[in-house]
Amino acid sequence: MTELAMHAADRDIADTLCEQVRSAYDARTPLRIVGGDTRAFYGRPVEGQALQMAEHSGIVSYDPVELIVTVRAGTRLSALQAALAEKHQMLGFEPPMFGEASTIGGAVATGLSGPRRPWAGAARDFVLGTRIITQEGKLLRFGGEVMKNVAGYDLSRMMAGAQGTLGVLTDISFKVLPIPNATHSLRLSLNLNDALKKLAELGRQPLPITAAAWHNGELFLRLEGGKSSVQATQERLGGESLDPSFWTSLRDHSHPFFQLNDGQALWRLSLPPNTAPLNLDIAETDIFYDWAGSQRWVKTALDADTLRAACKAVGGHATCYTPHAQGGAVEPFTPLNAVVEKYHRNLKAELDAHGIFNPGRLYAAF
């Protein structure tokens, strides 16, 4: 592991973390789980004693032939990605990085995925196993370091996106993927309706597309796969070549689009594939279509109810990425219906009876 140690400090502080959770459980002290603290903007603010994860870092095991890596939650995303890249592999879900301190634990806890998501899968799809600190401060193992495992409930995948509200993730095993042999990104001038039509048509064909976005009269596509197919598709689609850093800027919100004007909030609309443009009073330039149109970034002053009603009507939901900027008046996540909420509460009560894990981060009540 010396080679990998170059990328990430190798330190196991799980025992200390367990101890801290035990004390918090006994004293009923709420904990705010912190990795690189780059994703605190996402979700509701948490009041609590910080449980610092960043020191719990390092790659526990990595066997490129098995396509599996196990990593401590506090490992920096950049370090993990560098270690994988050395073996010509990568995380399949292209996690967004909102700062150099960004950790893999935070990436999984928030469950966010980059432009590749519709084609490759989400964060949870690549999680094979986890170690979790439970409310009683016990370190337990779920899932494992094998590709297929249906023994017991799939707790590990459920941790992705639970934002630390059900337990503390300490170690995560992922399925990793080889970096494709060939890649080419391109841009085509196309109006919105033609672009959406084209994306539906391309989507039905076995083409090596791994990202598709539209903004301001241009369709952006990324092709990845074997050399032959990428070249053939490139020739077929034409267009101008696009710098691949475009996708990183979209993934990490460093693209100029993400600069907000006064009074605007940033929203993420998650909609079924092939959903027509929503009938909302938003300028076309204030919408960025990603995921072939299934994920839409929207800058608007419209209220939450209006946006959520429009999304709900087509089977989607809306997340506010700037709830703090609006004085905390907006719920970041779409409220759950009564039955689903009941089972969320039950689950939270079972796994975190005293509400010590990131209380209120997802919803006020749990």
Binding site: G121, M147, P272, P273, Y343
Partner: protein, 499 residues
């Protein structure tokens, strides 16, 4: 160890008189088919794990959601357990009935509700057969990727319950990766939608939790699956090896070359012979092992990959490499693999199929262990693997009519699973725990982990009415099973019948 529900170890059940439950349900849901005569119940006494049979108290065959809801509400009120069943092809006894329970058969929910080619999704009822989805999507050039070997018969509801796999998992994922949304009825008869037609949904990922939960958390009533464009082409290479370990290493070499094959399967000599005798797949009978490597995608890439894989296989010591010349030969190569279980079934009066997974690097060591167990017990073992994802299906051959052979087969099976766990693997890759592997769960998980599973269950089904006795053992059962281990595997109460 008796596989039948044992209240002492599996938890107490409410005792209800059959006629009382029958009357209650007939009144509450008058238009629902409810079987109660022994001759009508008999066909439902087992699933694909036919060695275990229990006659259910009643069998319900609802046709509408309202009926399912009505049934669940009454069972909840009466405290009567409900075991949900799809096509009954499961191999782990997940749909094994309970004497004091109602068997809820979802097979009449067999409609494909919609296929949307532009959104690449299909909405289906749980009783729809796996293969029927791909057939419905075929006119649009699309298909549903997970393809368990039983795909002509197994239902999608059961696939969700078991998180079913197949021969294309490594590249295309399991059921959990291909289901967008499920509609569920809780044990209290409440309706919930988990997941969404969008790529995510707010809240916890209960959709991930529902996949593979073996009917313990809710009853799935509708499923939205993702459809994929059919690969332009698929080509299969068959490589022969004079040594199983060499074949095992070749699998790793292919992955190391940066290739994710659509399917990567391995069979040992006994499995090859069985399959060849049965379907004449064109397998080499003199080989110790064969690898089937399917490469799919865009024609030009597949050709490049075939060349790479061929070179890797040669270097790995393959004695012969053959590429299927056409679609017919490709189908023939796969027919041998997909029919391996029934093929082995023809060689032996009975066989017992295991489903362990291991890190691939452990394959040679685990194979050696299996060979030793086979020799020691005198029972032949044929090995079939989803080699690409380390999922082994050792088939233990035995004759149930011979005194003690079933128990011996189960004992060998249990030891094979423990080998898998010791190698860092799992007792089940895709068949599920069900009733069959309930004791082996105690080797894979510690009591504290099992307690967390119980906590999850309690969040959805506090009265433990959905499929009790399956999937997650009680701590009492683990204590008993653990104690047995201490005693050199000598079972206590040797006088008790073990079916």
């Amino acid at each position: 160890m008796n596989i039948l529900f044992d209240e002492r170890l599996d938890g107490e059940l409410v005792q209800r008189d059959k006629s009382e439950v029958l009357n209650d349900l007939q009144q509450a849901v008058p238009d629902m088919t409810l079987l109660h005569r022994e001759e009508d119940l008999r066909p439902f006494e087992c699933d694909g794990l036919a060695a275990y049979r229990v006659l259910p108290m009643l069998v319900a065959l609802p046709e509408t959601l309202e009926q399912v809801k009505g049934l669940l509400k009454r069972c909840y009120a009466l405290g009567v357990p409900v075991v949900t069943r799809g096509a009954g092809t499961g191999l782990s006894g997940g749909a094994l009935p309970l004497e004091q329970g109602v068997l809820l058969v979802m097979s009449r929910f067999s409609k494909i509700l919609s296929v949307d080619p532009d959104a690449r999704m299909a909405r289906v009822q749980p009783g729809v057969r796996n293969l029927a989805i791909s057939e419905a999507a075929a006119p649009y050039g699309l298909y549903y990727a997970p393809d368990p070997s039983s795909q002509i018969a197994c239902s999608i509801g059961g696939n969700v319950a078991e998180n079913a796999g197949g021969v294309h998992c490594l590249k295309y994922g399991l059921t959990v990766h291909n289901v967008m949304r499920v509609d569920v009825l809780t044990i209290e008869g409440e309706h919930m939608t988990l997941g969404a037609e969008s790529f995510d949904a707010p809240g916890f990922d209960l959709l991930a939790l529902m996949n593979g939960s073996e009917g313990m958390l809710g009853v799935v009533t509708e499923i939205t699956v993702k459809l994929l464009p059919k690969p332009e082409t698929a080509k299969v290479l068959m490589a022969s090896f004079d040594d199983v370990e060499k074949a095992g290493r070749a699998v790793g070499d292919i992955i190391a070359a940066g290739i994710i094959p659509g399917g990567l399967e391995m069979m040992d000599k006994l499995a090859i012979k069985a399959a060849e005798d049965f379907v004449k797949a064109g397998y080499p009978l003199d080989a110790e092992a064969i690898l089937l490597c399917e490469l799919d995608g865009v024609e030009a890439d597949v050709d490049d990959d075939c060349d790479t894989v061929r070179r890797v296989l040669e270097k790995a010591g393959a004695t012969n490499i053959q590429q299927a010349r056409d679609e017919a030969e490709r189908a023939k190569f796969w027919a041998g693999r997909k029919n391996a279980f029934p093929a082995v079934g023809r060689m032996s009066p009975d066989y017992y199929c295991m489903d362990g997974t291991i890190p691939r690097r452990e394959l040679p060591r685990v194979l050696k262990g299996i060979a030793a167990l086979s020799e020691e017990s005198g029972l032949a073992v044929a090995n079939v693997f989803h080699a690409g994802d380390g999922n082994m299906h050792p088939l233990i051959l035995f004759d149930a009519n011979k005194e003690g052979q079933l128990a011996l087969a189960e004992e060998v099976g249990g030891k094979i699973l423990e080998l898998c766990v010791a190698a860092g693997g799992s007792i089940t890759g895709e068949h599920g725990v069900g009733r069959e592997k309930i004791n082996q769960m105690c080797s894979q998980f510690q009591p504290d982990e099992i307690s967390v599973f119980h906590a999850l269950k309690a969040a959805f089904d506090p009265k433990r009415l959905l499929n009790p006795g399956k999937n997650i053992p009680t701590l009492a059962r683990c204590a008993e099973f653990g104690a047995m281990h201490v005693h050199n595997n000598e079972l206590p109460h040797p006088d008790l019948p073990r079916f």
